[in-house]
């Protein structure tokens, strides 16, 4: 096997081989109390290449890039940057030498404007005054390059949707004169066309000789944009510099996990026409977000919503859940109309929502994992107002087992988990208790291949037990593979509805982008 890969790699690598190595990590170790996050990592990045990092949730990818970005200092090992051994005291130091980073968890200041965020810490100045006009102009330029000229530079970041925020952190990275740009799961919040956009920008950057480190759990992306791949497992490099396009997926996955996982969706049971209707939404409207949306979810049915980011999907879920108040329309659960704008009523009716943004909408970062898992159920597990920690821990352990949470210690603070593992906590919360209708907003965001398969199975199992699921995902294959019925949303309206088995990715993308089949198909 080694022989054959060497050969194929040789052929593929020819074009990058002569480029100079800009970054070399040797035996980098980083420990946190009780955890060896990095345990001897090797990495070599060449100018102008897209170097992908692969690894399961908790493998140490984010920790590695934080070491590079000067957030963490390695315990041992060397980092050579542009031929010199470096040790960055802080992120500013790393930025000054030309390393820009887009972090997995957005690190924007919500109450500053888009431009202020893009230039945070290196504002253009004259006589000590920030040159606001210039800052806004350059930001507009960068946003234009990113294909988002419509975002006003002076708008507050708080008011942007998740994808918009991602664009702003990208703008921040581009506002530096960087020689290396690190992107930690940049596509996790992006829709299909946005990813294309991102790739276009990456190609522009690499053409200028800028190196890119790209982290993603999506294999197709790595195939499309990557040049070489380094695989991490349990904080160690298990494979370095594999050709991104030709290495078989099976090999990559087994390097990541030590086993082979089939990336498949669980079987879809035949449609059950007799299943009772669980959710009926009629004419739901919120100005500027979505209009006149009607849909139903039956018990045991998984309904997927496909659409671009900004097509009103997340807002729709939040409105059904009562976190936003509808301007018109009704939400009925098992025949009973829900009080508008009341989350409490929705939860009592058995609805659960796993929101899109885990950090700001879902997690108590400083609290233990088990308390985060039981955040919506601790009252039900309690006895006459007294919390039942034992049962909570037991339930959390059960969830942690099903979702392969790592590390498995549910007493740890959620803050210490890797991004994908935090996501499992968010989704896991609603797998407990008496949820009858599950609203999932990007449930697999940042979750690795293996755990993703587990999660799909868990969702399917829930449906088999009679739970209704309404699923929003930017990954069209996920919607198609998992959902019994698919709704396509565009600009706040449902424009198409069909069984998941009758749609293919291309059709959905056509619908989503152009609304080509809009006539006659509108719900």
């Amino acid at each position: 096997m080694t022989d054959s890969t060497t050969v194929s790699r040789g052929a593929q690598m020819a074009d990058t081989d002569d480029r100079p190595v800009v970054l070399r990590l040797t035996d980098v170790v980083k420990t946190f109390p009780g955890v060896r996050a990095l345990d001897g990592v090797q990495l070599e990045v060449r100018a102008g290449e897209v170097h992908c990092l692969l690894g399961q949730n908790g493998a140490g990818k984010s920790t590695l890039i934080k070491v590079l970005a000067g957030v963490h200092r390695p315990d041992s090992g060397t980092v050579e940057w542009l031929g010199e051994e470096v040790s960055f005291a802080n992120p500013q130091a790393a930025m000054k030498t030309g390393i820009a980073t887009i972090y997995q968890e957005l690190d924007l200041v919500e109450d500053l404007s888009v431009a202020e965020n893009a230039f945070l810490g290196h504002e253009p100045r004259r006589f000590g005054f920030v040159r606001r006009a210039q800052m806004a102009r350059v930001t507009r330029e960068i946003l234009g390059r990113l294909g988002h000229a419509e975002i006003p530079p002076r708008r507050l970041v708080r008011s942007l949707p998740a994808a918009g925020k991602q664009i702003v952190s990208m703008a921040r990275a581009l506002s530096h004169e960087a020689k290396l740009i690190i992107m930690d799961e940049p596509s996790a919040v992006l829709a299909h066309d946005e990813v294309e956009n991102l790739f276009r920008i990456i190609r522009e950057l690499t053409a200028q000789g800028i190196a890119v480190i790209y982290i993603s759990h999506r294999m197709e992306e790595i195939r499309e944009i990557g040049d070489r791949v380094t695989v991490l497992k349990d904080g160690r490099t298990t494979a370095a510099n594999l050709p991104a396009r030709t290495t078989p997926t099976r090999e990559l996955v087994s390097r990541m996990t030590g086993r082979t996982i089939e990336y498949v969706f669980p079987d879809r049971p035949p449609a059950d026409a007799s299943a009772e209707e669980l959710l009926r939404v009629e004419g739901l409207t919120r100005h500027g977000e979505f209009a006149d949306v009607s849909l139903t979810v039956a018990a045991g049915e998984i309904v997927g919503i496909a659409g671009l980011v900004g097509s009103g999907r997340s807002e729709l879920l939040e409105t059904i859940f009562g976190a936003r108040r509808a301007e018109a329309g009704t939400v009925r659960v098992a025949g009973r109309t829900l009080r508008a704008g009341s989350v409490g009523a929705a939860v009592r009716a058995g609805i659960g929502l796993a929101p899109e943004e885990r950090k700001s909408q879902a997690l108590l970062l400083g609290e233990p994992i088990y308390r985060n898992v039981t955040l919506a159920t601790f009252s039900r597990l309690a006895r006459v107002g007294f919390t039942n920690a034992e049962r909570e821990v037991a339930e959390a352990n059960r969830i942690a087992d099903t979702l392969e949470l790592r590390p498995r210690d549910v007493h740890r603070a959620v803050r210490q988990l890797s991004g994908g593992n935090q996501q499992k906590v968010v989704v896991g919360r609603w797998l407990l208790g008496e949820t009858r209708l599950l609203l999932l907003d990007e449930p697999t965001r940042g979750v690795d291949v293996g755990a993703r398969a587990e999660l799909y199975q868990v969702i399917r199992d829930l449906a088999a037990q009679g739970v209704g699921v309404l699923l929003v995902s930017s990954e069209v294959p996920e919607v198609l593979g998992l959902a019994d019925r698919v709704l396509v949303m565009r600009e706040g309206r449902v424009i198409h509805e069909a069984p998941g088995s009758e749609l293919d990715e291309e059709t959905v993308l056509d619908l989503v982008m152009a609304g080509a089949l809009m006539e006659g198909a509108a719900a």
């Binding site: 080694t2 890969t5 060497t6 790699r9 690598m13 081989d17 420990t31 946190f32 109390p33 009780g34 955890v35 060896r36 996050a37 345990d39 001897g40 090797q42 315990d75 349990d234 904080g235 160690r236 490099t237 298990t238 494979a239 370095a240 510099n241 594999l242 390097r255 859940f321 976190a323 989350v343 409490g344 929705a346 939860v347 929502l353 929101p355 700001s360 909408q361 879902a362 997690l363 108590l364 970062l365 400083g366 609290e367 233990p368 308390r371 955040l375 919506a376 601790f378 309690a382 107002g385 007294f386 919390t387 790592r406 590390p407 498995r408 210690d409 007493h411 740890r412 603070a413 919360r429």
Partner: protein
Amino acid sequence: MTADEATATAVPGEATATAAAPGQTKQHGHGAGANQSWWRSDASDYARRNLGLIGVLVALVVIGIITQPQLYSDATWVKNNTFTILQQASAIGVVTVGMTFVIIGGGIDLSVGAIMALAGVWATTLATQSYGAGGMIFTGLVVGLGVGLVNGVLISYGRLVPFIATLAMMVAARGLAAEISNKQTQVSTSQFINDLASAKLLGIPVLVVILVAVGALGWVLLNRTTFGRRTVAVGGNVEAARLAGINVKAHTLMLYALSGLCCGIGALMLTSQATSAQAAMANMYELDAIAAAIIGGTLLSGGRGTIVGALLGVLVFSTITNLFSINGLSTESQNMIKGAIIVAAVLIQQFRFNALTQFLSRNKAIRA
């Protein structure tokens, strides 16, 4: 370098690395993991912090012994002085328990001193006193609770910022207290109330017993009940709490009501100690209560805090006061020292033994 080196694939390091550090991979089992996880956990973080405060208390006593050796050689004096310190801490301690809840829940209550004055004054009007001790206690508690409820409604349903709402209440409640009392000191004629301050239960002053009881109830409420869990959730991440189905508004309302109730209890305790009440009583208690909660480890931004820490904070302050009075020093210098202590305590907290923790765990890793 050669092309071979540059493209050297795959796993040569895997076998060797595994051999080099067995058992130190991330999936450490529950052996080492569980051991380490206690002193890394929040509980241990709080424990360390509380130990720090106990250290400060010990240091203060040592300073007392050094400066007044002859007093400290008298065992009865020491016992009585200890009770004095605890009694002085009792009313403010009760209020601090309520304040701690409010702050953990993401709010702040600047009106506690004013609520105490209003409750104290209302409980000692001639009309109220005509109903006897029972009437006084009832009035004190209801006024405290009622004002707390008003705070809560303004904040949760009126959407006022807690700082503003309770600042307004601070001014208004003192004004009302002055109005009711006609700016006069109202003497309590209830024997029961007046005796309470000197009464003892099993040799322990009743006021101290009340403080301990409120502290214990507060601890249970925060750490063992769904109410406490909601408080932490609301203060830690309002949006997450709301999306998990917690009724944030109702809970916020209850937090301020709880604080108001604590003020009512505290007001009665102060009234008993002074055998009177006036509009200027409990002056600046809000700052003392906030300071005690903060040095006790409560995060001003909400989501974290302990009752034990807050009460230790109160004890530190009242021990300082005592130290100054037995040495016959002025209140001005006392306030200076208090300020210094607040800053020092917060600085120590920020240090949070992080460096030490990392150092120790690294050594452990190397040894293994």
